[in-house]
Amino acid sequence: MRTIAIMNRVLKELFRDKRTLALMFLAPILVMLLMSVIFNTNSTTDVNVGTVAVTQKLNQEMGSIKHVNVKTYATKRAAKKALANEKIDAIIKKNGNNYSLTYANTDSTKTAAVKLAFKNGLTATSISQLKSALKKSTTGMVKLQAQLQAMQKQQVAAKAPTNATAAAVAAKQATATKATATNNSTKSTSQTTPKITNHYVYGDKDTGYFAKMLPILMGFFVFFFVFLISGMALLKERTTGTLDRLLATPVKRSAIVFGYMLSYGILAVVQTIVIVLVTVWLLGMEVVGNMVSVVVVNLLLALVALAFGILLSTFANSEFQMMQFIPLVVIPQVFFSGIIPLDSMADWVKDISYIIPLKYSGDAVSDIIMRGTSIFNEGGNLLVLLAFLVVLTVLNVVGLKRYRKV
C-alpha cells in the first residue's frame, strides 16, 4: 500500500517535470538519429570464413589475407551450424562455377571484410589461372608456327600441287585454326567471372555498423537516464530532508526502494517502447525476435540502473557530485558493452566486461533483435542481470539504515 503511494508520488513528480521527461524520451531519439547518419563507417576486425567445396587455391589466397581465417567444411550443413554458433561469420560455397555466399551480417564491418577477402581471393586465383592459360596458348603458338613452317616447306617441295595435297594442306590448316580456337576458348572460360550470390542471415546489403550498435545503444540510453534521474531524485529527497521525514513515519525501508523501482520501472517500459518503435519505424531496424522480449530485458536493465543510481547517490552530497559518477560508472559501460568488438581486446580487458551490466543486456537484446533468439534461451544473461538487481536492492534497503536505524 505504502509502496504504491510512493510510486504514485514519484510518478506525479516526474510527469510534472516536463523538461526531464522530454530529455528521457527525445534525447535518445535525437542521438540515435545522429548516430545512424554518422556511424556507417568500417574498421578492421578479424573474420572467420567457412568454405564448402571451394578450390584449395582460393582457400589459400583468402587465408593469406590479413585478419581473415579460413575454415573448410565438408558439407553446407556443418558450415551453417558453425554460422549459427557464431564460430564463423560467413560461408562461401562453390556450386559448379558459381559461388554462393552467406553472411551472418550481425556486424556489417565483418560482412564487408569477407566480401573484400573473397573478391581478392578470387582475383588472385583467376590471375594464376590466366597465367597457366597464357602459358598453354604460348606453347600452342610455338607448335603452330612449327606446323606452318613445315607446310611452307611442303609447298615449296611440291611445285605442282595436286588436288590431293591441296586437300591435305586445307585439312592441316583447319586443325591449326581449331587449335587456336581451343586456345581462345580456354582463355575465355577463365575470364568469365563466376556468378556470385549473396545471402544475409540478418538484414540485407544495406545493414550498416549502426545496426549492430542499436540494440546496445538502446540499453545504454535506458541505463543512463534511469541511473541519473533516479539517483538525482533520491539525492534530492535526502538533501531536502523529505527522506528523513519519510523515515519518521512507520514506512518500511524496503517500501521506499520498491516504490522507486515500480515508478521507474514503468518509466523504463515506456521509454524502451518509444525507443524500439522509433528505431523500427524511423530508422528501419529489423527486429527478428520478439519485441516484448526486448522490452523485458531493458526493463530488467532499467531496474539494475535504478538500484545502481540509488546506491551511488548515497555517496554523493550534491547533484554535481552525482554527475561525477557519469565518467566513472556510465561511460566505461559503453566500452565494454560490445559496441566495440571485445574479441580484439586483451584478455584482462575482456575480463572487466563480466562486471558490466550493460554487456549482459546488450548480448541478450542483440541476440533477440538480430538472431531472433527466444528470451528463454537468454537465461544466462538474464540471470546475471537479476543477480545484479537482487544484490543492489538488498544493499539499498540495508543502506537506508544510515538514515533510520530500524
Binding site: A5, E13, R245, V251, K405
Partner: protein
Amino acid sequence: MTNAIIELDHLAKKFGNETVLKDINMTLKKGEIIGLIGPSGAGKSTVIKVTLGMEVASGGSAKVFDTVMPNRELLGRIGYMAQTDALYDALTGRENLKFYGQMKGISKQAMTEEVDHAAKVVDLTDDLDKRVSGYSGGMMRRLSLAIALLGSPELLILDEPTVGIDPALRRQIWKELGSIRDEGRSILITTHVMDEAELCDRVALLLGGKVMAFDKPASLEAQYQVATIEDVFLKAEGVEQ
C-alpha cells in the same frame, strides 16, 4: 512513572570520537509541553533523532511509550516536524499532506477530514491546491507543521516549528498546541525563541551535551534569580564558560 511518554535515561550519543550527548535525563509526561532550549550545536537535534530512532543511543536508553527506540511501528503515533521543511515542491499542498498521511497509515475514509483539519489549523485551506514551489517561506513552514499534525498523534516532536512564521500566526499555532495538550497529548518542542519557552510547561536547558536545568519556567527563573528564560539561558551559558 507510568504515564511517561518519553523517558530519556542517562542517554549518551557519540559520532565517531565526538561525544554529542553526555548524560541526558528527561521525561515527558502525558499532556505536557516540554521546551528544549540551548545554543546551536548543543545537541537538540540529536536528542530528537535518538528519540525518533533515527540514531541509536551509544549509552543509556531512550524510551517512547514505554518502548525502547528505535521502533518502526511506534512512529505512526508520533508527529514529527523537522528543521527543514521537507516538502515535495512539484506537488500541491494537498498532495503533500495526503502522501505523508498515507505514509503514516491514515485510512482512506479519514484522510479528507484529517487533511482539511490540519490545513485549517495552519490557515492554509485556501492555498491547498497550489503547488508548493509557489509557496512563500512561511507557507511552507505551516504546511510542514500541518503534516506533523496529521492523524492526531499522541506525541508531537517539533524541531523549531515557528521559524519564519509571523507573530499572529505564531500565536494561533501556540493556541492550537495548548489545546492539543489539553486533549492529553504531549509535545516536545525545540526553540530559539525565548518567549515561546515561557509558554512551555517545563523547559530543559541543554548545554554541552548535558541537561543543565529541567524545570518549570518560573522555577528556573527563581533558581537563577533572573526575570526571564532568556536571562536563564545567558546565565547558564556564562557559567558553563
